[in-house]
């Protein structure tokens, strides 16, 4: 499939501006862990208050791209783990036989963030929330590509992960720090993404839990900020090849 990445934005602790990411793409060190949250002061306080850290990250990277494009703008949101902090709080309350917070309950579902996005932007375009595996980014690109093929002039793709509560540490090993990436995708030939079947790794369970040095979405950010033109990503039996075509 072919498409253009018209604009992009990314956020991780300490990495907010394009220049931050350019510097990062040269040295590629892990961002320092911190409690910092992205700035969403472009929203009124009454709207901002119900945004989780995951939602704040998603909004902070996606909002400027949507502003630049204007509405309506279809959205594909993908997160492998979603609102684990909200889910964990609710489950803890269930265990303690305490009443559940209506706010936490209503916003713990996977599509809550796109619902908030649609309300706050006043945009009723088609919006999808996906939970992919380790190659969720590529599945989201496929979904966006289908919307472009149906005639959408542009599609906003947002991938975001928040640090899960400590109790999840034995199972969630692919979120070394919170991050979000937004891509404004348009029809075009700049990028090609190909999927090929490959033999699954011999030890599938170890491959499932393998800890990448940093999340795959940030490999794409590194490519975009550093002028890298090819990217290979293997997940289980799926081999994804990204190729930027020279102008």
């Amino acid at each position: 499939m072919h498409f253009s990445i018209d604009q992009w934005r990314a956020w991780a602790p300490g990495l907010e501006q394009e220049s931050d990411w350019q510097a990062w793409s040269l040295q590629s060190s892990l961002p320092a862990a911190s409690e910092s949250l992205p700035d969403v002061n472009f929203l009124p306080a009454m709207q901002r208050r119900r945004l989780s850290p995951l939602a704040r990250m998603a909004f902070s990277v996606a909002w400027p791209l949507a502003d630049a494009h204007g509405t309506p703008l279809p959205l594909v949101f993908v997160s492998r783990h979603g609102e684990t902090p909200r889910a964990f709080t609710l489950l803890s309350d269930v265990c303690a036989q305490a009443p559940l917070s209506p706010t936490q309950f209503s916003l713990s579902v996977h599509n809550a963030i796109i619902g908030q996005w649609s309300i706050m932007r006043g945009d009723t375009s088609e919006m999808t929330a996906l939970a992919g595996e380790g190659d969720g980014l590529e599945h989201a690109v496929l979904e966006a590509q289908l919307l472009l093929a149906e005639g959408a002039p542009a599609v906003l793709l947002v991938i975001a992960e928040d640090t899960p509560p400590a109790a999840y540490a034995p199972w969630i090993t692919d979120v070394p720090f919170p991050y979000a990436v937004a891509l404004l995708l348009k029809p075009g030939q700049d990028w090609q993404l190909k999927l090929q079947a490959c033999p699954p790794p011999e030890n599938a369970s170890s491959a499932d839990t393998a800890t990448a040095e940093w999340p795959h979405a940030l490999n794409l950010v590194r490519a975009l900020s550093g002028g890298v033109t090819t990217l290979e990503h293997r997940w289980r039996s799926r081999q994804w090849s990204w190729q930027q075509n020279s102008a």
Partner: protein, 86 residues
Amino acid sequence: MSDLQLEIKNLIIEALGLEDIGPDDIDADMALFGEGLGLDSVDALELGLAIQKRFGFKIDADAKDTRKHFANVASLAVFVSAQQAA
């Protein structure tokens, strides 16, 4: 302003995440829902839960007076006092 009114104002701010608002910004007779402070139906449920937890009594969500009790901070303080005395 009574201590109970102040406690209820702080409970509203804390339970509903009103990060830019202080207790002085909420008048005791300011409407909490719709006009005034501008809270919505999810806030109503959340605030009901917070009041029950803090003051240790059950609120009947279907009782016809519940809406009246939640009109403003002053009416909530009267309601909480009455429940605590009961």
